[in-house]
Symmetry: C2
Subunit: 992 residues, 2 copies
């Protein structure tokens, strides 16, 4: 998107040049020669060893992101990114042959803004000459198992945009680089392809898979990352690095390593040049047998390395010198400084046919009993908070656009979306939402999200003031899920605004903590809304402790328009005893017009689920269990369960209780069966009046460990669906992959962990099906799940462990609760029973509404009569297949829009079809003056994307669709979305 190649339809965008895209700071000494053009020469007749100097800088893990940046708390881990960048920039200047790649923009950004102009100029020149190359370029290197695609796209966009704004075209990463994440999601590959990356490298994959790929020279492949998108849209060349992301044994010259330096002064003791050269040649020749071309890579770096880059470069200089000097003695090995993209270019030049990969790289095991499937669930509260924060950020973004400049500076003060955007971007890191950080770091992520929200809250209040005309104070209640909200608890009269960030109207059930026993609820059009008051459950009272004293919950259903809000007025009518008390016996059934649920009156457990519209019924029993986490004292392996690793001691989980104590609430708004399994596990089975899904609200914790047993708590749904070992999980909340018990699509699995080895990430949904029935479970956060028994689905909800799993975090995963008894987690599973052919029609929108939930805000008393009580930012609801993925202010008058077709090909007869949206007719308050399409990462014009093409042995070989280079044409107003397509536009807008 750099200006010297970009062209923007002049009529509409004359003013754009210089406003964004073009790096205005640096002065170029000469035309930049970066990217593939800047790659070093290689030796066609030799084995070329590409040394890739790199550092892997976790955006938080054992220390917080800022501690890592500064090098604080070095007693925990020696790591200071400020020094890494200082040092690398220094060392790169010493020799133009030296290269370095940098990956994590969250850190680079922190560093850059503290540099003076002289340093910035130097760095810009290094970038322009390809000596410093940005790789991946997102704000962080996201986790792949527990992230939602929308947050990943956001964090990549944030990082790529900074690079583009700062360095222009030479700052654009060509290669995706996920060297550390613990397994690889197909959806990530798909996103990377759509972001324009030419290739992807990673380090971790199942040890059996790696073994096979080494034997068959399939370490490099073409990954076709979508069943739906037309190749090569989601094709991504993918390479597995030989040694994780570490240097070969004996060649680590970081301050954190103890390998011998090259001692080449013959006058000192222990001259070792000959033995180092010999050893290097041996390593190179051996590694070359794993790969197809006469090029290999060596990753020269590791976690937080290069703080003293001189150590690395000084020794690598010598290595290159002495190894290549052997060429005159007949050696055929040529070693050089390089980068992943330069290596990739050589692979491309080789013009070979590469194997095709169509599934994903989950689960990841690094040894027979070491499955990294625990982190799918680790820190469930953080995972939920992150997911909710994503929803809040989208709301914040939308309201920033809708409210205009006053949203950032308005009656409620100064607000911004940037703080939240950065907090969310940091939270995508593969030791953040993954739950694999130290406890103090988890707190830091949560605090950042809270701070981000505090900034957004002001913005949202300002924007709602603009849109509604009321600048009365606005309260947000963070504690609604534990029935805490001081305003609603104490107020006789208040209003509630429901903001809906979805592109279509939403119906939502609201539960407000109150102390009255009857209320009047009036919708924005003055109509009375049915409501009920029910007692706050005992479980909630226990959790909330002294934070709230509401005795009741006011339950009612609200509606909100697309990308807009509705305001409801609530007045207390009565205090005193409520109309009906809960019944303490098990009902045989609860039902509404769509669903019927039966219970066993003896056990209190579910027995069946019926869809009354489709006349489907399945047997369904559900209960809670825990796997006893291995303590590592085991004859097969000393691997304990930990933050990363799930390793049950036995394949049979313990049942928490065979029966549940029951409390029932049934009224015109909601029917609830409260199940009490133990002092630390309870559940509400809930059916709202107008709901097509059954809600299971689980509460787990504090998980007791006074028996010295670590526990991994699951809930299991057992049905009579003939699932035959198959089940289905989504990939980062988008496309669904078929899973099969004790099976991998690409190699003959030797299954050594019958439970942990069958767990997969569930980001948003998991289902089982047979010809007649599909039971889909939509989750409110990322969790691990599996189907261990036919007809069964299990989801891991919470984990509390007593041992560290020896992957570095150095703490047992045992989240403290308020009373140090352990954390209580609460969440919801939504169950949908459908015909398989139409299941997506339900679960696609359902999952999106679970992700982008309405935001409730409250105002005390009554509103001024002129207040606008209902508003939609859209002219009309989007078509059902279209998801409003991104509406975000980019610059003044520029809005980033992402529209997504949310159905896969063939999954819905009705919706898996192309669908057209008119951009000009989209917004109700904004005129769209122009639109230009961009790559998914919004750092390139779509028609300038030109990815390398790769031949593959399987499937079709399709040439990439290249845009007409350099035209930058504005798109027509009518844009068509094909199934699973996401289209990214930069809109020039004007408030009406």
């Amino acid at each position: 998107m750099a200006a010297h190649t970009a062209y923007w339809a002049a009529v509409l965008f004359l003013s754009l040049i210089g406003v964004w895209g073009f790096p205005t700071g640096p002065v170029f000494n000469r035309d930049p020669v970066c990217g593939y053009k800047s790659c070093p020469a290689t030796q066609p007749s030799m084995l070329n060893v590409h040394l890739i100097p790199h550092t892997h800088d976790d955006v938080g893990w054992l220390k917080t992101v800022d501690q890592y940046f500064y090098g604080d708390r070095n007693e925990i881990q020696h790591a200071g990114v400020q020094y890494i960048l200082d040092s690398v920039v220094e060392q790169l200047q010493k020799d133009p042959a030296r290269r370095f790649i940098y990956v994590e923009t969250a850190f680079f950004y922190r560093w850059w803004r503290r540099q003076n102009q002289a340093t910035r100029k130097i760095v810009t020149q290094l970038v322009n000459e390809g000596r410093l190359e940005f790789i991946n370029g997102g704000w962080c290197m996201s986790d792949e198992a527990t992230t939602h695609y929308s947050a990943v796209i956001d964090q990549m966009t944030l990082g790529l945009r900074f690079l583009n704004d700062t360095f222009g075209e030479c700052g654009r990463p060509r290669v995706a680089w996920h060297i550390d994440p613990f397994g690889h999601a197909r959806e990530h590959a798909s996103m990377f392809a759509q972001m324009g990356f030419d290739g992807f490298f990673f380090g971790r994959l199942d040890y059996q898979d790696k073994g096979r790929r080494i034997r068959t020279k399939e370490m490099e492949m073409l990954w076709r990352a979508s069943d739906t998108l037309t190749p090569p849209t989601a094709d991504l060349f993918t390479g597995i690095l030989p040694n994780g992301y570490n240097p070969p044994d004996g060649f680590c010259w970081d301050q954190s390593c103890s390998d011998a330096p090259i001692r080449d002064d013959p006058d000192l003791e222990d001259y070792n040049v000959d033995q180092m050269v010999f050893k290097f040649l041996e390593v190179a020749e051996s590694q070359a047998t794993w790969y197809k071309t006469n090029h290999i890579v060596m990753t020269m770096g590791s976690d937080f390395q290069y703080e003293n880059a001189n150590m690395w470069y000084k020794n690598m200089d010598k290595l290159i010198h002495y190894v290549n000097a052997q060429q005159s003695n007949g050696s055929r090995v040529n070693v050089l400084y390089s980068t992943p993209s330069c290596y990739l270019q050589e692979l491309h030049r080789a013009n070979l046919t590469w194997p095709l990969k169509t599934d994903d790289f989950f689960p990841y095991a690094d040894a027979a009993h070491d499955f990294w499937t625990g982190y799918f669930t680790s820190r469930p509260a953080l995972k939920r908070y992150e997911r909710e924060s994503n929803s809040r950020l989208q709301t914040c973004n939308q309201l920033e656009v809708l409210g205009g400049p006053k949203s950032r500076r308005g009656p409620h003060g100064e607000g911004d979306s940037d703080t939240m955007r950065k907090a969310m971007a940091v939270a995508q890191h593969h030791d953040a939402v993954s739950g694999t950080e130290k406890q103090h770091v988890a707190y830091d992520y949560a605090r950042r999200l809270a701070t981000g929200w505090a900034h957004c809250e002001v913005l949202v209040s300002n924007s709602l003031a603009v849109l509604s005309g009321s600048d009365a104070p606005r309260i947000y209640c963070e504690g609604l899920n534990i029935s805490v909200c001081p305003l609603t608890e104490s107020s006789q009269k208040f209003t509630m605004t429901v903001y809906n960030p979805l592109g279509r109207a939403v119906t939502w059930s609201v539960r407000l903590p109150v102390n009255g026993t009857a209320y009047s609820v009036i919708d924005p059009r003055g109509k009375s809304v049915a409501s009920e008051v029910i007692p706050v459950s005992k479980a909630t009272q226990l959790i909330r402790r002294d934070r709230g004293y509401a005795m009741y919950e006011l339950v009612f259903q609200v509606q909100a328009p697309p990308m807009g809000f509705s305001t409801y007025s609530i007045s207390m009518l009565q205090t005193g005893p409520p109309a009906a008390s809960p019944k303490f016996r098990a009902p045989r059934t609860i039902q509404n017009k769509y669903l019927k649920v039966t219970f066993d009156p003896d056990t209190g457990l579910l027995t069946s689920l019926s869809n009354l519209e489709t006349l489907q019924t399945i047997k369904l029993s559900q209960n809670f269990y825990w796997y006893n986490a291995s303590d590592g004292k085991n004859k097969d392996s000393d691997q304990p369960s930990g933050a990363y690793i799930f390793r049950p001691n036995s394949s049979t989980p313990f049942t928490v209780s065979k029966t549940a104590k029951i409390e029932t609430v049934q009224n015109g708004v909601v029917q609830e069966v409260k199940q009490w399994f133990s002092p630390w596990i309870s559940q509400v089975v809930r059916l709202y009046e107008d709901s097509r899904e059954l809600e299971l609200e689980w509460t787990v914790g504090p998980v007791p460990v006074d028996d010295d047993l670590g526990k991994e708590v699951i809930t299991r749904l057992d049905t009579d669906i003939l699932s035959s070992g198959y089940f289905y999980t989504d990939s980062n909340g988008r496309e669904v992959l078929e899973r099969r018990r004790d099976f991998r699509p690409t190699w003959d699995l030797f299954q050594s962990e019958p439970i942990a080895g069958n767990y997969y990430p569930v980001n948003s949904r998991v289902y089982i099906k047979d010809d007649a029935n599909q039971l889909t479970v939509v989750t409110d956060r990322s969790q691990g799940g599996s189907s261990i028994l036919n007809g069964s689905l299990e989801i891991m909800l919470h984990r509390r462990l007593l041992y560290d799993d020896n992957r570095g975090v150095g703490e047992p995963l045992s989240e403290p609760g308020e009373n140090e008894n352990g954390l209580v987690a609460r969440g919801r599973l939504l169950l949908s029973l459908s015909k398989p052919a139409t299941a997506a029609d339900t679960h696609r929108p359902l999952a999106q509404s679970m992700v982008l939930q309405p935001l409730l805000s409250f105002q005390q008393g009554t509103l001024h009569p002129n207040t606008k009580l209902e508003f939609s930012g859209l002219q009309a609801a989007l078509p059902p297949a279209v998801h409003l993925l991104t509406v975000s202010q980019w610059e003044k008058d520029l809005v980033l829009l992402r529209l997504e077709h949310q159905f896969q090909a063939k999954e819905s007869k009705t919706y898996s079809q192309p669908v057209t949206v008119n951009l000009q007719k989209l917004f109700s308050t904004l005129d769209v003056l122009g639109a230009s399409e961009m790559s998914l990462g919004a750092n390139q014009w779509k028609d300038e994307m030109s990815r390398l093409d790769w031949k593959t042995s399987g499937g079709e070989n399709m040439k990439p669709r290249k845009g007409m280079k350099g035209t930058g044409d504005a798109v027509p107003w009518e844009v068509t979305l094909n199934p699973m397509e996401i289209r990214t536009f930069l809109l020039r807008v004007q408030q009406r």
Copy 2:
């Protein structure tokens, strides 16, 4: 001595300019402003805090010197000096305010020779601007307790010369800097003063002493380091650093530290500028109360720090910025980058009167039970090998001068003295000869000395070939002390050359391993020499194992001329049974014409010693004992004995045996009583025919530890001398200090370790005396010694320990012998009984002859008749008071000469007088064309030395004698030496 200030008498030395002294490499951009002139401005009305960025780079300790240089074996200790210098030079360029001092020239030299011209130019400029300042500047930072002054002068000369040759005047260190040595010798201070240093800083002193000095503000003082030399010749301003050599707590910003960096980005978490500034001000104010002026120092660095200097400087830059910014808020603290000399200049400007110090800083204790007195003896074999190597280096130096250029390249190949000089210089390091290094490092020091000697051996052979006219192969026997020498063992006829490096003729007793039973020995003048053949002792047979098979030793006395040699011819006369077998009974007496020694026939132990000339007799019993080394499991303290620390478990040592088995040899050449105390301790009491001293040749080891008790082995001499708690030890082999049991001259001692707290270093001699008798023991190496009982002297001979003493070395001191049973050590004590008034007349020359022993070399068969069998490099023996300290080739035609008056004032009626030597009449084969006097370190003309003068509260205040600056006059040929004076001359010579 830089040429731009030096003037050399033109007639004699026209050719000198450019040959040495002037740095020829670097090109100056401008006139250097280094030294005191380059010091930063301070604030007279504020507290000035001098930050001294520094690194302390041990020239071997846990790793070898070359491992430290390269950063090899970082798993032992992270340390790589090459990177330190790279990094510091880089960082100094960033800001002219930044300073750094560098200390250890052994490392700097290794680094410098690998730098290109561009880097050298940069470094030269940094030095010329005072931004990089050399401090101390010796090859290493020598140990003070176990080094001999001659080796210390040599190592200082080597380092200072490199700096002078490379950088000229700006490379000359102004300040001596012994921040780490474990106690401080007065002789070191005296040498530093004579080398021209303006001041001296160190870190370690007795904790009681430090406490008192803090209370009385006597942390800085004038040290009058000689009883003999006229003040201020040996006066040295001495400062004790506040915090050892470390930064204040919380302000260590090295990669090896974990203190918080200064986090000054308000947009990141944990902004800490305010708290860091507050804490720093607190530390500074508190430290200021210890010192007299409004200047204080903070040593910003520690062991092997600054590998990544950016971390240090970046944070110190911020510290200086933010602390000084507080001045506008009324703060009176001014912090600045500085150096020890800039700090010293401010102290000098303060023009205060400083307290006087006249004793030394031994022993050093850092806590009540933690006396660093074990290392006085640790590694006795290394200590002896180092002492012997010193003698060999002096021989090598002398023969290089005498033999001329052919000595370096001659019939025996290429030789040099430089390798040995550097090996000896490295061995002076305070973790080298001190015995406090890891075992593998001790081996490295020994190997370096062996390699050095191998180079010298060629040089010596070449030179002897030149001087004798015989280039027949020449053999040196390293194993004579265990009766191993293949040539003498197997040869029927051979010659032996005795080279004597002393300035006077020597008589020496020789013992050669042979297998014949009678030999003819012919002196250089053809006279037959009395000789005897005696059996090799059982102890020696045990030690030497399979390395030699001699059954006998041929014993005879030889003589060698001053700085010259004599060659003896030896022929076997007889094999078969020897004339006399040893007697296996205890003799009542052995005696010669000078001494008589009596034994108790029942115990086999000594009972008395008589001087037959002076008619003195003392009771003298002698035996071997061991202290049980504390294992640290003790109620008072958990301190075990270790390489550094001596801590006996009980004040009463265990007696090895109350009786000794005896074997006696008595003949016309030697009388020996061999005492066998246990399988691991034996001794030969030996009296040569012409000897005025009694030799005790002890053999200790392998020290058994299978009883799990660490042992510290001593020998104790108990006499009837009325010593009353007083005893006397030398300081680095020169002046003698009075010691008094349970007493310190400068503070009221609380004695918490009645044995270890009374141990002092014995470098060459220790004595007790009363009015009538003085018993002096001359040692062959440095050892710890004391007088725990009146009339008693004890000397620690060997140590074998089971625990590390927690001072970093991380190994118990348990030297492996050949069979892993532990090392056997063998050595000699020479006992001299005299009247106190004349004792020095004996022990001064005796100790020098113990240090500079004759070198024996052998040639097979008979020599060509023209061979010169006798040679002296001197025209005549030097006067008895004069010791020939240094004769060493400096450059072509230039010889460094040091003449030393070896008597203290008043210790000898005969010799404690001025004595004159004529330089022109000194050498027999060299014409001395000119001479110019230099500082003791040979890096300044004597008449250009101009040291800062200091006022003291005690003693006389004398102005320093300044030479006439800039004249560089050649000295007159007649030079006078006053007691204890060392005069250093550079001679221009020409072979006759």
